[in-house]
């Protein structure tokens, strides 16, 4: 009893070592218990003198059984709180290597962030249902005609016809967009207005937040002038005045009584909609062919888009029976009218969906590359941990446990990457929503929500599995046992397979990067082609703004014409103004009406389809200001007009279509009643509606049309000012001059023509910049991959290189050897990538303009570029290899 306890009873060292396997929170107690037992047994053994060797050995063996207990503890805790513990352990491990962890997390965050951001767009625009009750029953109805002409949405005649006869329809609504001057408190503002049938709101199943929507008797001629306003308009113009209902609004000189205010989130047919008024339709006089409105309908119960489409097709075939005297048979024969029923969502989203899917695919590629990079990093790291892992296998950790180690580390990386990625996505979305193309629909419905976050979660889990899997493939438990036996310290055994795996990852990265680079290269070329396209006019140095004369201000047509004439003269005299032109539409800025035109020497029989054209009444100076080339004859001059010289100017395509072998000068056309207008000039074609497409069928008229005794004046015009100054400096000048003539006439939407053209190319530039950013990241990651692999190979082969140099290899030949290895990888990646890019080219083809999807220049330059930068990326490690000091390299072993 007086003898002190033996400082080291046998087996204490083993207990201490095995304790490391026990989960931390149990470790101390576990160790104390075992030590107490062994200490007690040791005391008992020595109570009666020195113990026999056999007895000591016996105690040692018993103490060694603590390893089994420790492993049991570990297994048990792992199955209970194991994941969390493993994660904690993994995070501690990761924090110890900040560079590795930082690069991996950042790489992942970029990939996951980009995917989250783009998926948010895709989800908001394409996947989530429209914000209407039973939105999948909503359809849009349009029609197509000959040559796939798409400009035949809906007519009032067809609306009434379908409403009466189509059984697959529950309800149908008609809407048309226009704009009027809203005058209140002496302030005049031109606002977009939707003219809608009373059924419009019923189709969408949206009621007014206050008041009501329209009743049936408000939708016929002679019905009361009522209006429903948007929440936004109520806020901005009326400060949410609670007494708004029953107030009268002055819309272009006509008074409308407000009967309702819509809910805040309602904006249909587009989010610009601010005011709705009834569409007065006279059932006895609804023209069959006045295609100028949109149709929206709700399917009857159990009906589908296909059944409705089929029914409408059948109905149109029998249109002649219903309208025997309307010229319908000839009309139908000529137009070949076909209904096109689409889900409303598809109609709203339109061809934007392809762009969005492509972008999502693109960022998906980026994420794959990022994962491949992280997998490679993990492989490198795993190599440094071989001994640790081998030890674990030696003490009985199974394949499953090693898997958990890798997986928990992957999960920790993926988790951190995801958090950072969501932050990146959030910021990116904030920035991107300001820059999306104007025609991206449903932008206001976009946001990071639960759906998006669950997508991101799945993505992160996929990533973790992906790059946790590769190290396991190499370092599965069986392998490790072998490695330990064979002496894994040199990191040379099994190296071949390991290199193959890492090389494979790098080749895949390069191939993916090449596909993306080809894609963004093609978009860049499209953008260049679009920018280089001659739209038929010169956009630089031109200011445009819209001026509309309400009948309440100037009633007569003569006076209206005089107003615009005086305005033009006044503006022309202003300093800095080089030329002035007015037109009912400026190219790419405003829409043109499309209806029939009569051509004297191409008369149409009764019932025969009329000749259609886009009509643009313009003032003298219009062509000169826009720089539209005059090909023949003259342009408009003062004195041209309905009651003056009745003349017209036509576009080149129109002239070539109707007078292919002769000059159109002297031929006569008209678009309404009264004497003929004589063609006095032919101007070059203009890309009027879309930047990538010539608008044929263009006829320019003087600003007054109709009969000579009763000229009709154009009331809404785009004013164009050409200047050598910054065009926007002329905005105050324009406002001042308009106000000087009449202070209640508004000037709306002033902007430069250059910005109009810019907006027209915005989708291409948007797609291009997104693809560009994605492929930039892909390239960077691919290069990091090549650099990493070559660096690693060099560090592993230092000894071999030393031997080579000792045997007479020159620095040059060593460098060449290493660079060749990098280039082999790059070339393999480029080859694979070219094949993949070629296979995927059809996907992007529809987004391209002026360049083939197989454009050899793009493919070749991307391939060469990629090889060159890969050369640079392997040059650095190669130079390091060439600088190896043979004696040192040999000593280091």
């Amino acid at each position: 009893m007086t003898e002190p306890a033996h400082p080291h009873p046998p087996g204490f060292d083993l207990i201490a070592r095995a304790a490391r396997l026990v989960p931390v929170h149990r470790r101390d107690a576990w160790r104390r218990e075992w030590e107490a037992e062994v200490a007690w047994a040791w005391r008992r053994l020595r109570r009666d003198g020195p113990p026999t060797t056999l007895a000591v050995l016996r105690l040692r063996v018993r103490a060694a059984s603590c390893l089994i207990d420790a492993l049991w503890e570990k297994k048990e805790t792992m199955t209970m709180t194991g994941l969390l513990n493993d994660l904690r352990h993994a995070m501690r491990g990761l924090i110890r290597y900040p560079t590795f962890t930082g690069i991996a997390v950042l790489t992942l965050a970029l990939g996951i962030g980009a995917n989250t951001a783009v998926f948010t767009l895709v989800d908001g625009v394409l996947l989530s249902p429209l914000p209407f009750d039973s939105a999948d029953e909503l359809v849009a109805i349009r029609h197509s005609g000959r040559e796939g002409r798409d400009q035949l949405p809906m007519s009032t005649g067809l609306y009434l016809f379908y409403r009466e006869h189509a059984r697959s329809l529950d309800e149908i609504g008609l809407y048309a967009s226009t704009a009027r001057n809203l005058v209140s408190d002496g302030e005049s503002e031109r606002i977009p207005i939707q003219v809608v049938t009373p059924g419009f709101f019923r189709v969408l199943r949206v009621g007014a937040a206050q008041g009501r929507t329209f009743t049936e008797d408000e939708g016929v001629p002679g019905g009361e002038d009522v209006a429903v306003i948007s929440d936004g308009l109520w806020e901005s113009r009326f400060a949410r005045d609670p007494s708004i209902l029953d107030r009268s609004l002055d819309l272009g000189g006509r008074l409308y009584r407000v009967v309702g205010v819509m809910p805040p989130d309602f904006g249909y047919p587009d989010r610009e909609a601010r005011l709705w008024i009834p569409f007065p339709i006279d059932p006895t006089q609804a023209p069959l062919a006045a295609f100028g409105s949109g149709g929206v309908a709700r399917l009857a119960g159990g009906q589908t888009v296909e059944t409705l489409d089929g029914e409408l097709r059948g109905l149109i075939g029998r249109l002649a029976e219903y309208f025997p005297d309307s010229g319908a048979p000839a009309f139908l024969a000529e137009v070949n009218l076909q209904p096109r029923v689409r889900p409303l969502k598809e109609e709203l989203v339109g061809d934007m969906s392809r762009t969005l899917w492509i972008i999502l695919g693109t960022v998906g590629f980026v994420l794959l590359i990022a994962c491949a990079n992280v997998a490679n990093l993990l492989l490198v790291r795993a190599e440094g941990r071989q001994r640790e892992l081998a030890l674990r296998v030696a003490v009985g950790a199974g394949r499953a446990q090693v898997l958990r180690t890798f997986m928990s580390e992957s999960a920790a990386l993926a988790g951190a990457g995801t958090l950072l990625g969501i932050a990146i996505a959030w910021i990116a979305l904030k920035l991107a929503l300001g820059a999306v193309p104007a025609d991206l629909p449903r932008v206001d419905e976009i946001g990071l929500d639960l759906r998006v976050l669950s997508f991101t979660g799945v993505l992160a889990a996929g990533c973790a599995l992906f790059f946790g899997f590769f190290p396991l493939l190499r370092y599965g438990a069986d392998d490790l046992g072998t490695q330990l036996r064979d002496g894994a310290a040199h990191g040379s055994t099994g190296g071949q397979g390991r290199h193959r795996l890492r090389n494979g990852l790098v080749v895949a990265q390069m191939a993916l990067a090449l596909v993306l680079l080809v894609g963004s290269g093609l978009m860049l070329r499209s953008f260049q082609a679009l920018r280089a396209t001659d739209p038929g006019f010169q956009a630089e140095g031109i200011l445009t703004a819209r001026v509309t004369v309400p009948t309440a201000e100037i009633e007569g047509d003569e006076e209206t014409a005089a107003f615009f004439r005086v305005l033009r003269e006044q503006l022309a005299g202003q300093p800095g103004v080089e030329s002035v032109g007015l037109g009912s539409a400026a190219p790419l800025a405003s829409g043109l009406p499309y209806y029939n035109v009569t051509v004297e020497d191409h008369p149409r029989e009764e019932g025969e389809l009329p000749i259609f054209a886009n009509h643009n009444p313009v003032s003298p100076g219009y062509f000169e200001t826009l720089g539209i080339s005059l090909l023949e004859g003259r342009t408009f001059e003062p004195g041209d007009g309905a009651s003056g010289r009745r003349v017209a100017v036509v576009g080149r395509s129109f002239a070539e279509q109707w007078w292919p072998d002769a000059s159109p000068i002297g031929r006569r056309v008209n678009a309404g009643p009264g004497e003929w207008f004589e063609i006095v000039g032919v101007v070059d074609d203009v890309h009027f509606q879309e930047i990538g497409q010539v608008s044929d069928e263009l006829v320019y008229w003087p600003t007054t049309q109709g009969e000579a005794e009763d000229p009709q004046s154009t009331r809404s015009m785009d004013v164009l000012l050409r200047t050598g100054l910054d065009p926007l400096t002329l905005v105050p000048v324009l406002r001042r001059e308009v106000q000087a003539l009449n202070p209640r006439i508004p000037v709306s939407n002033p902007r430069t023509m250059a910005s109009v053209v810019g907006a027209a190319t915005s989708r291409t530039s948007f797609t291009m910049s997104l693809l560009g950013a994605a492929s930039g990241v892909a390239l960077l990651l691919g290069l990091v991959g090549i650099y990493g692999v070559i660096s690693y190979v060099v560090s592993q082969r230092t000894r071999e290189i030393g031997v080579r140099m000792a045997l007479g290899a020159t620095a040059h030949s060593v460098r060449r050897m290493v660079v060749r290895q990098g280039l082999t990888l790059a070339a393999a990646g480029v080859g694979l990538g070219l094949i993949a890019a070629g296979a995927l080219s059809s996907v992007i083809a529809s987004l391209l303009y002026g360049v083939s999807a197989m454009d050899p220049i793009t493919y070749a330059s991307v391939a060469v570029g990629l090889v060159v930068v890969s050369l640079a990326a392997s040059w650095i490690p190669a130079s390091r290899a060439a600088g190896v000091d043979p004696s040192r390299a040999l000593r280091s072993e």
Binding site: M1, A41, D69
Partner: protein, 109 residues
């Protein structure tokens, strides 16, 4: 409370439980009393403790200090454990005879 629902009543488990009931309360004592292989006893103790059949406690500090060794941890049957003994005896009727009566020498009190 039936034993079967709490753990698999195998021969080693029954032996450990009976050994504890007859007063062998420390890990090494139980190993000696049952004659089970060294590596099997502790995992059984851990499992039974986690299932609430056994409760582990540290022996009094004075006793350990008097013998100049660390405190040992002893195991005792919980009420649940007591209740399950019936089933143990029923399943392995011959077993109780292998263990002697309660050994007061190892009583931790």
């Amino acid at each position: 409370m039936g034993v079967g629902r709490r753990f698999n009543l195998t021969y080693p488990t029954a032996a450990v439980l009976l050994a504890i009931r007859s007063g062998h309360r420390y890990g090494f004592d139980i190993m000696d009393a049952t004659g089970l292989p060294d590596g099997t006893v502790y995992p059984i103790l851990r499992r039974l403790e986690r299932r609430g059949v056994l409760a582990g406690r540290w022996e009094s500090e004075e006793r350990a200090r008097a013998e100049q060794r660390p405190q040992r941890r002893y195991y005792a049957l919980t009420p649940v454990g007591e209740a399950s003994m019936e089933e143990v005896v029923e399943r392995f009727p011959a077993l109780p005879r292998l263990f002697g009566s309660i050994d007061s020498a190892t009583d931790p009190a």
